[in-house]
C-alpha cells in the first residue's frame, strides 16, 4: 500500500476544499440553513408531529442527508473531472498508486467534506431548536456510508463526464429533485396512498428515512431496508468502477 501517496492524494483534495471554503463549505451550509429557517422555524413552527417531534426537528435529518448526498457527489465528481479537463490526470495515473488507492483518495476526501458540512448544519440547527439523536453512532455510521456511496457515484460521474454540462446533469436535474421529493420536508405518511407507493421508487427516501430513524427512533421505512439499499447501490457503483479501471474508459486512451 502506498500510504504516503494515498495521504498526498487525500490531502490534495482536502486542500482543494479548504482553498475555497466560501464555495465548498459555507455556501452549502447557508443554503441548507435557509431551508431550515424558512420551512422549519417560520412555517412549521406551530406544527407538532407524532412522538412530540416538532416540524423543525423533523426536517433536520433530511436536510443533513440532502447536504451529504449532494456535496459528496459534487466533491468527488469535480475532484476527478478537473484533472481530466486540465490534463493533470497523468500525474495520478503515472504515480505508483493502485486503482483502489486512487478511489479511496478521491472518495474519502469527498465523504469527509460532506460529513463536515453535515456536521456544521447539525450544530447550526442546534441554535434554533434542540435536536436529540437517539442512536448517535448509527447516525454517524449511516451518514458516512451514504457519503462514501454517493462520493463513489460522483466519482463515476466525473469519469464519465466529458464536459461541464454532463457533469451537472446528475446533481441538478436528477439528484436535487429526488432529494426534495425524498421526504426532506414531509413524512411519506402525509401523502395520499398512490404517491406513497410512487415515492418508494425514489432511493433518496430510504437514505433520509434511515438517518431520521437514527435521530428519532421512528421512520417511514425500517432502517434495515435503508441500510440494505445503500449497500446494494454501493456494490453497483463499485462494480462499474472496476470495469472502468479494467478498460481505462474515459481515463486512458
Amino acid at each position: 500500500m502506498n500510504w504516503i501517496g494515498l495521504k498526498t492524494l487525500f490531502m490534495m483534495e482536502v486542500g482543494r476544499t479548504l482553498a475555497i471554503p466560501m464555495q465548498t463549505i459555507l455556501s452549502p451550509v447557508i443554503s441548507t440553513m435557509l431551508y431550515f429557517v424558512v420551512f422549519g422555524s417560520a412555517i412549521g413552527g406551530s406544527v407538532t408531529l407524532a412522538g412530540g417531534v416538532t416540524y423543525a426537528q423533523f426536517i433536520v435529518p433530511g436536510l443533513i442527508m440532502m447536504a451529504l448526498i449532494i456535496n459528496s457527489l459534487s466533491a468527488s465528481s469535480s475532484g476527478i473531472f478537473f484533472p481530466k479537463f486540465m490534463g493533470t490526470i497523468y500525474e495520478i495515473l503515472t504515480a505508483p498508486l493502485s486503482y483502489l488507492e486512487i478511489t479511496i483518495g478521491y472518495v474519502f476526501s469527498a465523504a469527509v467534506r460532506a460529513m463536515a458540512i453535515g456536521g456544521i448544519i447539525y450544530i447550526t440547527a442546534l441554535f434554533f431548536t434542540p435536536v436529540p439523536v437517539a442512536h448517535p453512532f448509527i447516525a454517524l455510521g449511516f451518514s458516512f456510508l451514504t457519503a462514501v456511496t454517493f462520493a463513489l457515484f460522483g466519482f463515476l460521474i466525473g469519469i464519465w463526464a466529458e464536459n461541464f454540462e454532463k457533469l451537472n446533469i446528475f446533481p441538478s436535474l436528477i439528484l436535487t429533485p429526488l432529494s426534495f421529493l425524498g421526504g426532506v420536508f414531509y413524512s411519506l405518511q402525509m401523502l395520499p396512498p398512490f404517491w406513497q407507493t410512487v415515492s418508494l421508487a425514489n432511493p433518496i427516501v430510504y437514505m433520509i428515512s434511515g438517518l431520521r430513524w437514527s435521530f428519532f427512533g421512528v421512520s417511514d421505512i425500517t432502517p434495515w431496508t435503508s441500510f440494505a439499499l445503500i449497500c446494494v447501490f454501493l456494490s453497483i457503483c463499485s462494480a462499474i468502477l472496476v470495469w472502468i479501471f479494467k478498460t481505462g474508459y474515459h481515463l486512458k486512451p
Partner: protein
C-alpha cells in the same frame, strides 16, 4: 504506456527489470514523465506542486531535494508563486521539476522544448545534460533533430508509427553521415574531364564549384581526386567540407 497513462493492448515492457503491468508500482517508481502539454494545477504554488508530485510517488517530503531541484531549474525564486502566475517556459520547468522529485532512474521528456524560446531551450538543454551526467537515463522525444544530435547517445527514429531504427548516435553518423568536399573554382571547365567523371563529382556552374561526396569512414580517394583536378588544369581558390547532420540522415531514412 510505460508510465501508465495509456492502456497496453499487447506486448510487454520492463523498466529496471520490472514489468510495467505486473510490477507497475516498482516500475513506475523508477520513472519520471514530463508530458508534452503543459498540464498543471494553476491554483497551487510551485513548491506545493513539486511536493505533491513527490508524495504521490510514496516518498516523504525532502526539503533539501526540493531546494536543489528548484534551484537547478531556476525556480527557487518563484517557489511561492502560484503556477498560474508563471510564464509558459517557467511552467514547463515546473513540469520537469515535478518529474525529478521522484528521483527517477529513467526520465521521459516528451518534446520539452516545443514552442519554447531559444534562451529557455538552451537552459533546458543544460539542465538535461546535468541530469545525464548524474546518471539519469533520459528518453527524449523531439522534432528538433539538432536537439537530439546535440544531446543523445542513442537515437531512435519513428516513422509512420514504427520504430525504424535505434542506434548509437556516433555509429549512425559514421555509417550514414557522409561528407561533402567543395572546391571553389576560379573557372568552371566547359566539359567534365573523363578522369573526374569516375569520381562522380558535380559542377555547379552558377556558384563555380566542384562538389564531391564521400564517406569519411570509407577508403579515402581525396588525394587521387586532387591529382586528377591538378592534371585537368582546374584551379581553385578556396575549399571547404560539409558534414551531414542528423536531420539530413533522418530525411533520407524517412524518404526510403
Amino acid at each position: 504506456m510505460i508510465c501508465g497513462s495509456v492502456t497496453i493492448t499487447t506486448g510487454t515492457v520492463t523498466v529496471g527489470g520490472y514489468d510495467v503491468v505486473k510490477d507497475y508500482k516498482k516500475a513506475r517508481s523508477l520513472v519520471g514523465l514530463v508530458p508534452q502539454e503543459i498540464a498543471l494545477n494553476p491554483f497551487i504554488t510551485v513548491i506545493r506542486a513539486v511536493e505533491i508530485a513527490r508524495g504521490l510517488y510514496g516518498k516523504p517530503k525532502d526539503e533539501v531535494l526540493t531546494e536543489k531541484t528548484l534551484k537547478m531549474l531556476s525556480l527557487w525564486e518563484k517557489k511561492d508563486n502560484r503556477v498560474q502566475q508563471l510564464s509558459g517556459g517557467m511552467k514547463r520547468r515546473v513540469l520537469i521539476a515535478k518529474a525529478l522529485m521522484n528521483e527517477p532512474k529513467v526520465l521521459f521528456l516528451d518534446e520539452p522544448t516545443a514552442g519554447v524560446d531559444v534562451d529557455l531551450r538552451r537552459d533546458l538543454w543544460d539542465s538535461v545534460r546535468v541530469l545525464k551526467e548524474n546518471g539519469t537515463t533520459i528518453v527524449l522525444t523531439t522534432h528538433y533533430l539538432e536537439e537530439a544530435e546535440s544531446m543523445a547517445d542513442r537515437v531512435g527514429i519513428i516513422n509512420k508509427g514504427e520504430l525504424t531504427l535505434v542506434e548509437e548516435k556516433s555509429a549512425l553518423m559514421k555509417r550514414l553521415g557522409g561528407k561533402k568536399l567543395i572546391l571553389h573554382l576560379v573557372d568552371t571547365p566547359k566539359e567534365i574531364p573523363q578522369a573526374l567523371k569516375d569520381f562522380q563529382v558535380t559542377f555547379d556552374r552558377e556558384k563555380n564549384t566542384l562538389e564531391y561526396e564521400y564517406n569519411p569512414e570509407g577508403e579515402s580517394e581525396i588525394t587521387a581526386l586532387f591529382n586528377e583536378v591538378k592534371d585537368a588544369g582546374i584551379v581553385f581558390h578556396d575549399m571547404e567540407t560539409q558534414e551531414q547532420s542528423l536531420e539530413d540522415i533522418f530525411v533520407e531514412l524517412v524518404k526510403k
